[in-house]
């Protein structure tokens, strides 16, 4: 059950360094969502977008399809407030990535250095990792 399977929305491709979050949005407190991190991590979205164009898929669909391809018992739980995003996400369950697609995604992601921890120190500590 991967939660935040779209990286808290980042992999949907609409969040960039210029995005502002509401004061109640906890992404304001996450190191991975600082302006610098968003600017740096955009490279991963760009990679996914390029791969997705070939496969006719959005970055979010690639991310979800990649997860679904990892094992038969993987069930990602993306959230959204928008019906069109819900539809977009669900279409990912109807496609099968080729091994070449999977390899390209893996290569693109491994070549991207992700900036910013997922949680601030106090929250990370609560996960006992």
């Amino acid at each position: 059950m991967p939660y935040s399977p779209l990286g808290r929305g980042f992999l949907a491709g609409a969040i960039d360094e210029h995005t502002t979050f509401d004061s109640a949005d906890n992404r304001n407190t996450l190191p991975r969502f600082t302006v610098e991190a968003r600017r740096a991590n955009q490279a991963l979205v760009d990679h996914l977008r390029a791969i997705g164009q070939r496969a006719g898929m959005t970055p979010a669909q690639l991310a979800l399809a990649w997860l679904l391809a990892q094992a038969a018992w993987i069930v990602p739980i993306p959230g959204t407030t928008k019906v069109h995003r819900l539809q977009e996400n669900l279409r990912a369950a109807a496609v099968e990535l080729t091994s070449a697609d999977l390899a390209d995604i893996g290569r693109a992601a491994s070549q991207t250095v992700i900036m910013g921890d997922r949680y601030p120190v106090d929250l990370e500590e609560k996960t006992n990792r």
Binding site: Y3, V75, L90
Partner: protein
């Protein structure tokens, strides 16, 4: 996209809990996000997901606190028998105050209230939101099972999921949790790049000792 009644099913754990291949994480409909929806819109979105074939919905006591469970409960009440609802304990007490506790009394007490908020007699999947270092995993896992599992009507499916970031469980699933009841919840893998995704995948595999061989083939 038209109606999608053919969203694939997948099985969580070995207890036969069947869910749609993609669930809907409901937190952001009312909590911790910028563009939350008003209540009616949120209910409409959840019901749209049902119409599109989603049968798995995730919430937690701490989202709100409590209001997200109420939202999910109200939205899904008409289709209760067609869906699987997951919620989590361990981050708030019965008054909604922040705690980090998985004491059995707190689990039972707050879960009773979750049943009411979710408008269900059974919580299909109940899981620990954050690890409580003071309560051993086996004690947490045992809560809600056995003859004294709570008031009449509180029936917790004998099925637990565990955060993949719970080290005792991850290392010793057979002894502490029972492999048949272990379900991994992996953290925000999508945003972590492949190294994170790989780690998450390995953790999941570590938690699934009795799983069939992994296959990249999609099962239809």
């Amino acid at each position: 996209m038209g109606r999608m009644d053919a969203l694939d099913k997948r099985t969580l754990g070995t207890g036969g809990l069947q869910v749609s291949a993609l669930g809907l994480g409901c937190m952001g409909l009312s909590y911790h996000r910028s563009a939350t929806l008003d209540r009616n819109e949120a209910i409409a979105l959840i019901r749209e997901a049902v119409d599109l074939g989603v049968t798995f919905f995730d919430t937690a006591q701490v989202y709100g606190p409590f209001t997200n469970e109420q939202l999910v409960g109200d939205a899904l009440a008409p289709v209760r028998d067609q869906v699987v609802i997951a919620t989590k304990f361990g981050e708030v007490d019965a008054n909604g105050h922040p705690v980090r506790s998985s004491r059995p009394e707190l689990i039972k007490h707050t879960t009773d209230a979750s049943l009411a908020r979710l408008r269900v007699e059974t919580i299909d999947l109940l899981y620990q939101h954050r690890v409580d270092p003071d309560v051993p995993p086996e004690e947490v896992a045992g809560t809600g099972q056995g003859p004294d599992r709570g008031r009449q009507g509180q029936v917790l499916r004998p099925f637990r999921s565990w955060r993949a970031d719970d080290p005792p469980c991850a290392r010793r699933p057979a002894r502490h949790c029972g492999p048949e009841r272990v379900l991994a919840v992996v953290a925000a893998p999508g945003g972590r790049g492949t190294p994170g995704l790989r780690r998450a995948g390995h953790r999941v595999r570590a938690l699934q000792p009795a799983r069939p061989r992994l296959s990249r083939r999609r099962h239809r």
